[in-house]
């Protein structure tokens, strides 16, 4: 471990009493509490922190904030690893480990950097142009391109940390806690309004924190530091104000809904965050605000020149932040290159911190307000000059400076002799872009302001206003005044009092005008004979030459330019590059920037982890699990469960040493020979009441319900209004005006919604109420020849005789002493009953019935056996009711009433649905009665031979598909249900079930879909 050679002896907002150890690319370094990873790396003299996306050029730290395009690292390891995190935003903690990205084998020696040598063959659109043919080769190209162009790595194991969601409501939401945001919060908070202030940094104060005058400390008290501290103390004392640190307002959505990401524990080591086991790592806020103040500040932009990506080329304000806030010298000898006054302040602060300022290169012919101040301190101010190139590889070693032919002209020429200046730091300022992202996301307009050469907020669309630098106002006093006014106005519009006067401004820190005078210099042309790359978008390696090429190729629209060159499409979304790209485009087209227009700003402002979006809804909390009252019994009997929607249902009950298929076949066979019970609590149950209930049922089912007598059940089929089958089930008339409808498990919700829709919207005049009672009742189906005998033992009060209680009958009475409902309905085709008892008694009744059935060798059976039984009986389920089949396709044609209208009736007569060539439900058996019919097999009329390798096979017409298949233990043959063109006319034909996936074709005999007891003697017996 080495010392921190670039750390300044004193000053800054770091705590030198708290040294922290961290590793970068496996090497241990030391920093201090209050550092970011970026400031600590700079303090240790680490300059190359990553390799670029396309050319693998060495890259260093460019900014000190969330706009960082270059210093992206892989943070942490294992399940906590996070790619593409910005070193400038990572607060240092003890034990932090990070790795550089995009380099192989190491950041100092990268083999892919060879691509840089061939880079003139890789212009914009290179991949589109080069790898587009032959198309099949793309699969091969892609592997290499992905390897070369990767960003960080995604974690491969689950994230062990906790992420929370929180909803918030407030009168005024303030994004940003700099001078404008704090002033706005004070003004709004003092009215008693409920205020949320969110700032992405770890402490409020905004850009003031980066200024030398704010550092203060006991030896040098500062008005700015005092103002921040007093403001924060006052805000924190207000009960209705919430001040959120490390919390980014990342999205502005409809109706003043804003998304906030609070990084609760990202700045802590694992042991620190473990201290509170319930502390989330991040918290996603969704805040509905009556009024919003956007005090999001401004972002400095660079100037494009050859070699402007060399490590050591940095934004001037970032260099200023590193010396003042973090006590770090980002270099020993600086050249400052600017088109405005703000960089002079950086130069003066750098000099005060012991960095030699070799020259200030100011593209303005006359310099600016601080030029003379700088000269008075002995700085060499070259006015009317520009940096044409930065030299060096992994570290800038100097710059070449030339005079500008015209005063700051955007398309200016460089002229005269070249002057080389040695330096290891280049501080660049090309002006400031107000952070209009949230305003634009809220659908507010942006306007190009020539005075500051930047986009500023225009007309608002939602209840928001911008204040301070976010609005293009840069002087601190003005920012505070504007913030106070905005906060007061927002509170007033939210219904809170009059605005108190803003706090007295006190001793202002010095703040120069940030606006570049005259036409700003966006990019410096190549020096004659120069060929260094001039980067516009450093993260995506897009150069000024790429933009020019795209324009030559006709990509004149800003949206096209963006997509063709990928300018501004990296994880930083072009925070430091978009406006420059636009300006270059405008110059090339000879238009104003305002006429070229800006691309749309979209959320999120900064990247948001998927973990935060997911929140707690992960693993078993992803969806609720529904269990029937009999679940513990199934579990104790070794049932294997299967998910049916959110329900867990017993799939089968294997005996010791019994294989799955053996258990399933045993259960299916046993039911037909003896008796079995299955838990059918998951079926949808809807209670329908009212004088018009019969009329209502008559309108939603294809068959008639008006003549259904009390105490009887009826099978019904529902269509959608487009004529296709929606669901099937039974309806029982419980009493004069009361019915119970059952639905399939899957369609319980949709059928309920369907009924509600038609009752409320289509026929509001019908006096009917519907309510879902699925979870109120436990349901047990008992099937098999002995089912009546078993029931007689537990429901002695009900006359079970065939005459007293016939098929499709219904009786109420005690079952095992519990008041219940008994329905004589059958899904299996056997003599069968369904028993409903109040859910709380389900387990008790189930156990009583199992005990009573002991004498008849009763067994429980699962969904697999149930499925075999219904397939043997030709009952349709989801495989057949797939949203494409008509009632007639499934054999319900004659059920459709001619005497009444019903939902879907008119559509069911559409020509397409009565076409004689439609696929109809049939049964299939393999001709050899042995070979399983493949799942999902296609039905063809001719056997499919071996498909020739040449791909010249003759197409074979598909005339149907297998919808359900199983081995029938009761018939000792595989069987299947299928939908086959004109299937009902084909009974007896031999067709072929072909599965190219399984590679087999099975000859099958077409037959009626009811395999067992077609006359229904068993279920009526």
């Amino acid at each position: 471990m080495t010392g921190q050679p670039f750390r300044i002896a004193e000053g800054g907002r770091i705590d030198r009493a708290k040294p922290l150890t961290f590793t970068f690319d496996g090497r241990a370094y030391q920093g201090f509490q209050g550092d970011t990873l970026a400031s600590a790396l700079l303090a240790n003299g680490v300059r190359v922190v990553g390799r670029s996306f396309k050319y693998h050029r060495p890259r260093g730290i460019v900014t000190a904030g969330s706009e960082e395009p270059n210093a992206l690292v892989q943070l942490r390891a294992g399940g906590r690893t996070e790619p593409n995190t910005r070193a400038t935003c990572i607060e240092l903690f003890d034990g932090l480990s990070a790795e550089s990205q995009n380099r192989w084998p190491s950041v100092d020696f990268d083999l892919h950097a060879l691509t840089g040598l061939f880079s003139r063959f890789m212009p914009s659109g290179f991949y589109y142009k080069t790898f587009k043919w032959p198309a099949w080769m793309w699969m091969t190209y892609e592997k290499f391109i992905r390897h070369a162009a990767g960003m960080g790595r995604s974690p491969t194991v689950a994230d062990p940390d906790r992420y929370d969601h929180r909803y918030g409501h407030c009168d005024v939401l303030i994004a940003g806690a700099g001078p404008a945001g704090l002033a706005a919060a004070l003004a709004a908070g003092r009215t008693g309004a409920r205020v949320i202030v969110a700032d992405e940094r770890c402490e409020p104060g905004g850009s003031l924190l980066d200024h030398a005058a704010t550092q203060g400390g006991p030896s040098a008290p500062s008005a700015a530091a005092d103002w921040i501290a007093q403001s924060v103390a006052e805000l924190e004392a207000m009960p209705e104000v919430t001040l959120l640190r490390r919390c980014t307002v990342f999205g502005y959505y409809d109706h003043n809904m804003l998304g906030l990401l609070e990084q609760v524990a990202d700045h802590q080591s694992q042991s620190q965050s473990k201290a509170d086991p319930f502390q989330p790592r991040q918290r996603l806020w969704q805040v509905r605000a009556k009024q919003v103040v956007l005090a999001t500040g401004a972002i400095e932009r660079p100037i494009v020149f050859a070699g402007n990506d060399r490590p050591g080329v940095m934004l001037a304000a970032a260099a200023r932040a590193y010396v003042n806030r973090y006590g770090v010298r980002p270099g020993n000898r600086a050249v400052v290159f600017t088109n405005n006054d703000s960089a002079y302040e950086a130069a003066l602060d750098l000099a005060a911190a012991g960095v030699a300022v070799a020259a200030i290169v100011d593209c303005r012919a006359e310099g600016g307000a601080l030029t003379e101040t700088a000269r008075a301190q002995g700085m060499d101010c070259l006015t009317g000059y520009a940096v044409v190139a930065a030299k060096g590889g992994k570290r800038v070693t100097g710059v070449t400076v030339m005079a500008l032919a015209e005063d700051g002209d955007a398309g200016g020429k460089v002229t005269g002799g070249r002057r080389a200046i040695a330096c290891d730091l280049v501080c660049v300022s090309g002006g400031w872009n107000p952070t209009v992202h949230l305003h634009s996301q809220s659908r507010g307009k942006v306007r190009f302001d020539d005075a500051i050469a930047a986009f500023v907020p225009g007309e608002s669309f939602q209840a928001e206003r911008s204040a301070g630098a976010a609005r293009g106002t840069f002087a601190t006093a003005a920012c505070r005044a504007e913030g106070a006014a905005a906060g007061g106005e927002a509170a007033r519009l939210a219904g809170f009092g009059d605005t108190p006067p803003p706090a007295p401004s006190g001793d202002e820190p010095r703040q120069a005008a940030l606006a570049p005078a005259g036409a700003p210099l966006w990019s410096v042309p190549q020096a004659p004979g120069g060929h260094g790359k001039r980067f516009v978008d450093q993260q995506h390696d897009v150069t000024a030459e790429d933009v020019a090429l795209a324009v030559r190729e006709g990509y004149h629209s800003v949206e096209h330019l963006k997509r063709y060159t990928t300018l501004g499409m990296a994880t930083d979304q072009g925070r430091t590059s978009n406006v420059i790209g636009l300006a270059i485009l405008a110059q090339l087209l000879g238009k104003d920037i305002a006429a070229v227009g800006a691309t749309t700003f979209r959320p999120p402002y900064t990247p948001v982890c998927l973990g935060a979006i997911t929140g707690r809804e992960t693993g078993r909390h992803f969806a609720p699990t529904r269990r029937s009252a009999m679940h513990p019994w199934h579990q104790a009997r070794g049932a294997r469960f299967v998910a049916a929607g959110m329900w867990l249902r017993p799939q089968f009950y294997a005996r010791p040493n019994e294989a799955m298929m053996d258990a399933i076949h045993r259960e299916a066979k046993h039911v037909r020979q003896h008796v079995g019970m299955v838990d059918v609590s998951t079926l949808g149950k809807i209670d329908i009441q009212g004088p018009d209930a019969a009329e209502f049922l008559n309108r939603v089912y294809i068959n008639g319900f008006k003549k259904l007598e009390t105490g009887r059940c009826r099978y019904g089929v529902m269509l959608r209004e487009d004529g296709l089958v929606f669901d099937d089930g039974t309806v029982t008339r419980l009493s004069e005006n009361r019915y119970l409808m059952t639905t399939t498990t899957a369609h319980a919700g949709p059928v309920m919604a369907h009924l509600e829709y038609h009752l409320q919207v289509t026929w509001p005049e019908l006096k009917v109420h519907v309510v879902s009672v699925t979870e109120e009742w436990s349901a047990i189906a008992i099937a098999g020849p002995h089912s009546r005998a078993v029931l007689e033992r537990v429901a002695g009060g009900i006359d079970m005789s065939n005459r007293a209680f016939p098929f499709m009958g219904f009786r109420q009475g005690a079952v095992a002493g519990v008041p219940g409902r008994v329905f004589r309905i059958s899904f299996s085709g056997e003599l069968a009953y369904e028993i409903n008892v109040p859910a709380d008694h389900g387990l008790f009744v189930w156990e009583a019935m199992m005990e009573a059935g002991g004498a008849f060798d009763i067994i429980p059976y699962g969904t697999e056996a149930m499925s075999i039984l219904r397939t043997e009986k030709g009952h349709v389920v989801g495989g057949e009711i797939d949203g494409r089949t008509s009632a007639d396709d499934l054999g319900f044609g004659r059920m459709m009433s001619q005497a009444k209208d019903f939902i879907g009736k008119h559509s069911a007569r559409r020509p397409g649905l009565v076409d004689g060539h439609r696929q109809q439900l049939v049964g299939l058996t393999p001709t050899d009665r042995k070979t399983r019919i493949p799942r999902g097999a296609r039905i063809v009329a001719e056997p499919i031979g071996q498909v020739p390798k040449s791909g010249a096979a003759t197409p074979v017409g598909m005339i149907g598909a297998v919808t359900s298949q199983c081995y029938s233990p009761n018939l000792d043959t595989p069987i299947a249900l299928a939908l086959v063109e004109r299937g009902r006319d084909r009974h007896g034909e031999i067709l072929y079930a072909a599965s190219p996936v399984a590679g087999i074709t099975v000859p099958v005999t077409v037959r009626d879909p009811v395999f067992i007891d077609p006359q229904g003697e068993r279920l009526r017996g």
């Binding site: 109706h255 809904m257 669309f461 829709y757 409320q760 919207v761 509001p764 008119h906 559409r910």
Partner: protein, 94 residues
Amino acid sequence: MLLIPCPWCGERDEDEFTYGGEAHIARPASPDALTDAEWADYLFMRKNTKGLFQERWMHAHGCRRWFNMVRDTVTHEITAVYRMGGKPPERTDS
């Protein structure tokens, strides 16, 4: 995310609602009397209004009641909500 004023429950997030498309489309009393074209018009054809639009919503994760709403499809401004069977307020362009 829209903030929708359910006429029964008050303002709630859009998440709690399901969308039901264009409002005031009555199911024909005698479908059999209609031509295929008229039936298709009822079943499939919907307006694609730019501006104020009368539409149906259901408070699915709340009171489960359907209601009508007038929303500007450009700005998402909600100018009215009214119960099923109610008449739309005047001055809507849809």
